[in-house]
């Protein structure tokens, strides 16, 4: 375990320049975007040009790029993520308000995805070339190719507008005062379906492939020869080994899912990070945008690291070098 710790530490140290680079580039891009956070004021007949100049100074927008970046970075090191230009709220608190909602969405998507993908993946692999296998593999391709926003629209048209079975968006019924699980689940159905379809297809394909590879291997033949039931062989031996790459894929998918939530949250009005980013992007709210980029880039780095560590942990053939 000692070696693992030092490996993790080394990887974390290695990630520092990476994150620094990302923050500089993001900051530069944001600054290059024309308009800026005060653009909205320009059309306001009550705001004078002097007001604009004064506000620019108040927000430090009149400073040269490197000064603005260093100021931002210096405060970040001190734990101050800055305040939104638009709402004056602390960025960390704003992210804190939204992150749990996005995590709820993503967590449900993961659970649903795995609950569906694992049995199907196992079933197809054990019945290779059967009609069921063909059906599933064909189905995964279709699901894989479905643009998520289109799927979202179709689901809204069908279940929201036509059948009126499910709410069209939001996270709770308006006016709800306490947490209501049924209500929350009803609101989760459509966005989770939109996001989970792709993931399910992805995992079924992975699981099927790695199961097929494992099933053919010697030790399973040995297990069978020892007289173990096929069910036990498959579940205890094949699935366990086949799930190693799945764990990696799941960890690597984390940031993808995080980003995928942007479009889904936008369609379904889910009050998560994606919508926060979108609102901030349209308002050129730099501190919020930078905060989200830092959080998500860190998430990517950690997910990559987790994937590597998990992989090595589950597969003893790999050594931490």
């Amino acid at each position: 375990m000692h070696r693992v710790t030092s490996y993790v530490l080394r990887r974390l140290v290695g990630a520092v320049p990476l994150l620094l680079g990302i923050s500089v580039i993001s900051f530069a891009i944001l600054k290059a975007v024309p308009g800026g956070p005060l653009a909205a004021y320009e059309a306001n007949p009550n705001i004078t040009p002097e007001d604009i100049v004064r506000l620019e100074r108040a927000f430090g927008l009149d400073q040269p790029f490197h000064v603005q970046y260093l100021t931002w970075f210096g405060r970040l090191l001190g734990g101050d993520w800055g305040h939104s230009y638009a709402s004056s709220q602390p960025v960390l608190a704003m992210i804190g308000e939204r992150l749990p909602n996005t995590l709820t969405l993503m967590g449900t998507v993961y659970v649903v995805t795995l609950l569906i993908a694992i049995p199907i993946g196992v079933a197809t692999a054990t019945r290779q070339y059967s009609r069921f296998d063909h059906l599933v593999t064909g189905g995964t391709f279709l699901a894989y190719s479905m643009p998520p926003f289109w799927l979202g629209l179709l689901l809204i048209i069908l279940f929201g507008l036509q059948l009126r079975w499910l709410p069209l968006g939001g996270m709770t019924v308006p006016g709800a005062t306490s947490f209501d699980l049924v209500d929350r689940l009803r609101h989760l159905v459509l966005p989770v379906t939109t996001l989970a379809l792709f993931g399910t297809a992805h995992y079924v394909r992975y699981l099927r492939a790695s199961m097929l590879e494992t099933i053919g291997q010697d030790y399973l033949r040995t297990a069978r020869a020892k007289g173990l039931g096929e069910r036990i062989v498959i579940l205890r031996h094949a699935l366990r080994n086949a799930s190693i790459p799945l764990v990696t894929v799941a960890a690597l998918d984390l940031p993808e899912l995080f980003v995928g939530a942007l479009v889904t949250e936008q369609i379904f009005g889910w009050p998560g990070m994606g919508r926060l980013f979108w609102d901030a992007a349209t308002r050129a709210d730099y501190p919020v945008l930078m905060g989200i980029l830092v959080v998500s880039a860190t998430l990517v780095v950690l997910a990559n690291l987790a994937a590597d560590v998990l992989y090595a942990y589950l597969d003893p053939r790999i050594r931490f070098a």
Binding site: E42, A43, N44, P45, I47, T48, R54, S88, E97, P271
Partner: protein, 552 residues
């Protein structure tokens, strides 16, 4: 697009609200919760700290000011007992060029935290607006030298100079109890302001909803009718409409004209369309486009008044209104479409493509083999810009390409995102640079038109020399108009000001520097059971929320 300071003011009971009274047989029902959806989210609710229309929709339930504005542009008192004018002695012009404005406050008014509302709060509001670097405008507040509070219910504002739009200030007051806050915009009051209005904010869940509960200290007896209004955050107008139709919400803010036909036929729903001050226009660059443009060099095509006249004649405004806006707009006539300064009888020539062709023929613009006119080697090919993603504007462009082709003028499109096109910075904004042929956008004048009128003065032409200041994007320059606009700002005599503005606007329209497309309406929708909302030209739909109730 048009984001303006929200005027956070709700009228007192003295301001009649026809919606509430108009219902016969059954009287207003007390109690209940109304869910109102907003497709934008207020960033903060403190008055004069945000430039978001939607913030005013929520804040006006809570925050009140000294005065409010009626739809006709006249003022009514809110927390003051009367509107101070020269006539009633509330305004006194001083010998040194300054003026004093005295307000008498309504007694026994309480803030939602229970403390008393006094003249000290007015003074505190002024002090905050002066010293806080984050307020969006100090205009008008910095013109005040000193505020005296002789009694708790009287306040005297000493202006350094004559300041015409004095009644447009102090429309959102702050309680003195906030003086302990080091940074008001970052305090919790930005989300839960303390006000004197009919409601108070009890919950602000970003991205999801804002709850306003009835304010127990509200001064008007038996108001508000509703117990609670919940503002639900939705990602788009489309989502809001769907939820309204599905009965998930009781009302929604700000529809597009094109969405009205989706709602109007439904007997369970009601559309409230109110004339608005926003004027959609196409501004024509009189100067030759360059980066930046030199106003002295005429535009090779648009520099010819005959071309400008023909373009206006070939613009089917009524058809655009009927087909793209579903009739929910008026043909535009000037930038000041509402209020006391709105001029009468300034209509532009109506749609007549045949006349347009004739005008161009006579002016020597000859159709070439490709159907596009030319004169002296210059092809009549123009580019129009507008904000990308705005459906009605993009649709209008399509119509114009078609229509103008028929009179031999080639139009192409180069749209930019609104944060570039309307950025307002000399570095980026093509309107400021003068680097465009035609630009379609909307602008909303304030209740006092002076700032809007400065857009049509020679001094308002953005150039490198003046650092890009000013918003005279068409580069219209006329000494007589300059004089009229300057004269209007130097007096507090309202009829005189209106007349001078009208003179300047007539000169502007004679030049046909701008094609006034249409005056937009603000459109909100409710379930038919919701009674009381009436709409207002200058204030948001919620201005009379204390009179709303839900019928059966």
């Amino acid at each position: 697009m048009a984001m303006f300071i929200f005027c956070a003011c709700a009228p007192t009971a003295t301001h009649t609200a026809p919606g509430g009274a108009a219902i016969a047989n059954s009287g207003p029902v007390r109690g209940g919760t109304l869910v109102f959806s907003l497709w934008q989210e207020p960033a903060g609710l403190l008055p004069n700290f945000a430039s978001q229309t939607v913030a005013g929709i929520v804040a006006s339930l809570v925050v009140e000011g000294l005065t409010g504005t009626n739809s006709d542009g006249s003022y009514y008192p809110v927390l003051a007992t009367q509107v101070p004018t020269l006539a009633n002695g509330g305004v006194r012009l001083l010998a040194g060029g300054g003026m004093d404005v005295s307000y008498e406050l309504i007694p026994n008014v309480r803030w939602s935290d229970g403390s008393a509302f006094t003249s000290a709060d007015v003074k505190f509001t002024w002090e905050t607006y002066l010293k806080d670097p984050k307020v969006i405008t100090k205009d008008g507040y910095s013109a005040i030298e000193q505020i005296d509070t002789p009694t708790p219910t009287s306040v005297v504002l000493h202006y350094k100079q004559i300041y015409g739009p004095y009644l447009t200030r102090f429309t959102g007051l702050l309680p003195k109890s906030l003086e302990k806050e080091a940074d008001l915009s970052r305090s919790e009051y930005n989300r839960k302001p303390i006000g004197t209005g009919p409601f108070r904010i009890t919950e602000f869940v970003a991205g999801d909803h804002i709850t306003a509960e009835r304010n127990p200290t509200y001064r008007v007896p038996d108001r508000p009718y509703l117990d609670r209004i919940i503002f639900r955050s939705v990602p788009s107008r489309e989502a809001a409409i769907a939820q309204l139709k599905a009965g998930e919400v009781d009302g929604m803010w700000n529809l597009l004209e094109a969405q009205v036909p989706e709602i109007a036929p439904d007997p369970k729903l009601r559309v409230i369309a109110t004339a608005g001050a926003t004027v959609e226009r196409i501004e024509l660059n009189l100067a030759k486009p360059a980066d930046p443009a030199d106003p002295a060099v005429r535009h090779p095509v648009l520099g010819d008044r005959a071309v400008r006249r023909a373009l206006n004649l070939a613009t089917p405004k009524q058809q655009i209104i009927d087909k793209l806006l579903f009739g929910k707009a008026q043909i535009g006539t000037s930038p000041v479409s509402q209020g006391w300064a709105s001029p009468k009888g300034l209509a532009q020539e109506p749609y007549d493509p045949n006349l347009a062709n004739k005008v161009l023929d006579e002016a020597g613009w000859v159709k070439g083999a490709d159907g596009v006119r030319a004169k002296g080697g210059v092809r009549a090919a123009l580019t129009i810009m507008t904000t990308s993603g705005d459906k009605v504007r993009e649709q209008t462009e399509q119509v114009l390409i078609d229509e103008w082709k028929r009179v031999g003028i080639e139009l192409s499109i180069r749209n930019l995102p609104s944060d570039v096109l309307l950025s307002g910075t000399f570095a980026n904004d093509p309107r400021k640079r003068g680097n465009f042929d035609l630009v379609m956008y909307a602008s909303t004048p304030g209740i006092d038109p002076q700032t809007t009128m400065l857009r049509y003065t020679t001094a308002g032409i953005p150039t490198t020399a003046n650092g890009g200041a000013g918003q005279n994007f068409t580069r219209f320059a006329n000494a007589e108009a300059d004089a009229a606009i300057a004269g209007a700002s130097a007096t507090v005599d309202q009829p005189k000001r209106a007349e001078l503005y009208a003179r300047a606007l007539k000169l502007l329209n004679d030049e046909i520097a701008i094609i006034w497309l249409y005056d937009r309406q603000t459109i909100d929708a409710f379930r038919a059971t919701v009674r009381g909302p009436t709409g207002s030209v200058w204030l948001g739909i919620t201005f009379n929320a204390q009179d709303w109730w839900i019928g059966r």
